[in-house]
Symmetry: C2
Subunit: 308 residues, 2 copies
Amino acid sequence: MADAAPTRDDVERARATIGDRLLRTPLLTSRTLDARLKCELFQRTGSFKSRGALNKLSRLTAQEKARGVIAISAGNHAQAVAFAAAAEGADALVVMWQGASEQKIAATRGYGATVDLEAHDPASAFERLAQLQEETGRTLVHPFDDPLVIAGAGTVGLELEEDAPDADAVIVPVGGGGLVSGIQTAIGTRTRVIAVEPETSTALHSGLEHGEPTPVTPTSIADGLNAPFAGRLPLEICKDIERVLVTDDEIKHAFRFLYERAKLACEPAGAAAAAAWLSGKIDAENTVVVVSGGNVAAQTASAILAAP
Amino acid sequence: MADAAPTRDDVERARATIGDRLLRTPLLTSRTLDARLKCELFQRTGSFKSRGALNKLSRLTAQEKARGVIAISAGNHAQAVAFAAAAEGADALVVMWQGASEQKIAATRGYGATVDLEAHDPASAFERLAQLQEETGRTLVHPFDDPLVIAGAGTVGLELEEDAPDADAVIVPVGGGGLVSGIQTAIGTRTRVIAVEPETSTALHSGLEHGEPTPVTPTSIADGLNAPFAGRLPLEICKDIERVLVTDDEIKHAFRFLYERAKLACEPAGAAAAAAWLSGKIDAENTVVVVSGGNVAAQTASAILAAP
């Protein structure tokens, strides 16, 4: 039976489950941006991803925990699963591929996970994942197409409802759709939730156009958003959501703006919502921009900051 | 008559005066740094300087406000005075010099101040300041050697006392000594306050050694700390303070660390206290590192991030 989409109650349950093991991230006000910034880059593991991973890990049975978990990711989800597994005393195996960032491999191992690097590329990594899952009986922690992962991400929405009750628009960067689905589930009936994708990474747009998860080949500088498809649950939850596309140049501009004016060291993915807001493509009064993560290599950041 | 050093009561009065016109900046916890970070880079105008400037401006008489204020600075103090003067409805004239950063000139003008660029270098700018002050009758807003400016900066200490009551060490970057003096005045009897200077910018060390403000020629990459001397009041307040020196390489390392691990886009001066903590030169348990400011040109940040 396919999983059902999570409800607002599920999001509230996720908040209770997470408790104080993660941060209630600060909401900063930027006068120059004329918006408030939900700073998920300060979340444990450097992105919102730890919310969903910890909610998922916390709900495993003792037997599932004993068998451990498995995930595929060369980015923020890898660190989040490693962190959450350690917090729940479960073993984590993360499938990456050759050429994955040394820094992210090291960070994932730093949280105590085993990293599998047998695959040569993302496609063969997915085959490797299926094989390892079969062999080990580990529970898969999907990065976005899982009701517990979505409900965990939705706790961002509950915090916004309390910290910015007057917000009339919440702008969210979208990769596979987990974060925006969670926020939509939590507060979408009361507040406009706006999904932002790079023009070169359109999993949600393509999925909604075709009415089902649709493979894309994303190439955005916002690597954290480069999901190969949007999840079935996100497509269901977001079927009527307001959507905006941004260019990579707009993302780079927003990255520099957040650095220079808001003093935030975010990753390119984390700047996508700010890019949409700065581009003038969204008409709103009391706006919250979600800065979803901050895991970027210093060399990458240096290159973006160097080009004016 | 020379001004007397401010008291804790003066700091509490400064907090009431400032009210909610400035931010209570967040205190973030960094597990990798094993310290809490007092994030003054998120303060209005991008540094703690607005606290002292606003306290000073708020206490001017109607006549003094009508005549306006004058300041000398090519950095954070310039923006702080411009901001505070606008908040109090006073005219601000800021003396800089040719070669000052275009970005900082623009930011200062952006807050509504007039910038005077007649001087060719810092030394002649000080002469220009004296001449203009004489001609115009404007009130000087000193960047650090003023009891109201020090008391304003001390409000950082009051916030730390409430938000980190268990802290046993507060580490503070030092230029002319205003911030560290304010924090020492606010909480120095209860908490260790540790003053950090670059080895190449030692106004406080030199002043304490000679028992009076002593000219130095600072050359640190932490330009925000490059004061040409420490104030008389800071030397009096800090005469027994614990002091640590850091190298420019340690500052650059801390700058990258705060970027990559704490996701903070601080300026080099703002990383000096973190540099002292990371270097292992301070033995403490529950440590607060003050990140004093975040005004850095993207090009400068890019260069520091590029060099591993």
